[in-house]
């Protein structure tokens, strides 16, 4: 095999196609922090999230479910620690589970009709999807029967954590939490339309 042929084979290889040319361009998006394109969001600490949780519970006890729902949707945790985000997700799911099925649609319609209501339902949709992700990725539930976003709440480090986490009872309550989220999802789409789902996927602000 002559050198020329080897040379040609090397040239003909298509390895160059896998070169990331964006990395070689100085001002390409790869070399640029995309987060600077958006205005910074206020940071919410875990303590703040717990404070909101307390206020929302108080409203729930007082029978003002709509106020509780609006309250937690108006203060989404966009910028905060993982723990703060989980706490807030918890708060939202707690409120959702305390509202009767027959009250869902009228309540959503009232919220949608108010100033900033569309934004509120977008936030609710984000938490619904986050809740679904959390309940399906792990099947844990805490004693009170609420769906628990398990990653933060069950920090056991045993090698057999998965085995320990799957008794029948927990599975059932995960199922019920999921069905609550799914029925809320259906109702939110009825009120806020498909645009709401599109906005959740588009939005750079993640809950």
């Amino acid at each position: 095999m002559s050198i020329i042929q080897q040379h040609t084979q090397a040239t003909l290889s298509d390895a160059w196609r896998t070169i990331n040319i964006d990395a070689l361009t100085e001002d390409s998006p790869v070399n640029f922090d995309v987060s600077t394109l958006h205005p910074p969001l206020p940071e919410i600490s875990e303590a703040d999230a717990r404070a909101i949780n307390g206020q929302v519970r108080q409203l729930l006890r007082g029978g003002d479910a709509e106020g509780a729902l609006r309250g937690c949707l108006e203060m989404p945790v966009y910028n905060g620690s993982e723990a703060a985000k989980e706490t807030h997700l918890h708060t939202v799911i707690e409120v959702l589970q305390s509202i009767k099925a027959s009250e869902m649609t009228p309540m959503l319609q009232r919220i949608y009709g108010q100033q900033g209501g569309s934004e509120c339902l977008d936030v609710l949709m984000k938490y619904l999807y986050k809740g679904m992700g959390a309940t399906s990725s792990s099947s844990a539930a805490d004693g009170s029967g609420r769906a628990t976003p398990a990653r933060a709440m069950t920090p056991q480090a045993t090698g057999f954590s998965q085995v320990g986490q799957r008794p029948m009872a927990a599975n059932e309550s995960t199922g019920s939490a999921m069905s609550v989220l799914l029925s809320w999802h259906e109702k939110v789409v009825e009120v806020a339309g498909l645009g709401c789902i599109g906005r959740v996927m588009t939005d750079f602000r993640r809950v």
């Binding site: 640029f32 394109l37 958006h38 569309s118 977008d122 645009g195 906005r199 588009t202 939005d203």
Partner: protein, 367 residues
Amino acid sequence: MAAPEVHHLFHHPIADHSFSADRQTLAIARDTQVELYGRVGNAFKLKDELKGHDKLVTSVDIAPNTGRIVTCSQDRNALVWEPSPTGYKPTLVLLRISRAATFVRWSPSEAKFAVGSGDRVIAICYFEEENDWWVSKHLKKPIRSTITSVAWHPNSVLLAAGSTDAHARVFSAFIKGTDQRPEPSPWGERLPFNTVCGEFLNNSAGWVHAVAFSPSGDALAYAAHDSSITVVYPSAPEQPPKAVISINTQLLPFMSLFWNGETEIIAAGYDCEAFRFQGGEQGWQLAGTLEKAKAGRPGLGGEDREESALNMFKQMDLKGKVSNDDTKLKTVHQNTVTMLRPFEESGGRVTKFSSSGVDGRVVIWHT
């Protein structure tokens, strides 16, 4: 409101369409070529094909006065097609971009045009007499991603651009020797090339699909992928805008929009139909669809299929259920609408507009 005029040209997506000034010629960007259709009675018949690009043609625009056609393509080139007695003659434009050209529009003065690209630049192209050559200058800063659409201000100096970095921006595209010094406007007074006169982001920061200046040029509207439309009213140069109004809708995202006077915007997109927005500086709202409820949908044909027993059993046999052909949408367009353009104007209002989409239809609507 008269029924829309439907022209089903072929079963292939239409990237862009443009009518000549007399509305007798229709240019369609189809695949790697541009097809010219001439009006024959009530229909449009293929009369010429402009072949010069070797990748998908992304945009086409006919200059109303000079009759020149500009096209741009994913092959990174733009061509200006000069009408001559023996057909259209293409001239290559030096764009100097290394990614696809995505969008092209003539300025109202027709002396220059803007080409948006995936190379994070907008090329402003103008004719250099001494070299007999179309050359370009780049608008670069602070674009961070692909330009999806551009729109000219009536003064032919300001240019709005929407981008996948979620921003709608207003630039000065002033070319010395080509342009007259513009009148001062709320966007700015002194406007050297590449002045950024405005940079806007909406709440959820989706890709911007379409931008448009209002007829006076004193307001800017843009549609983003979060199913919203945002209208911006600038106050004075270097000042924050007077009002930025965002309307989130329950619909799917809009791909194209235009202004009908100062108080109405018509937009269409993934919902396959056009919607009307009305409002002003105090607020905007969705006013409804332009699609008529049920009757008067020509062009679809064969809809009133006989509901005979034979037909019912045929359906049962074929599909296992009785259905009224549920593959057909209830809208005139049967797929995403990608482009809207004013078709006929009188007294500052658009009386007719045209739309084209992925379904290969061009439809002329009454507003």
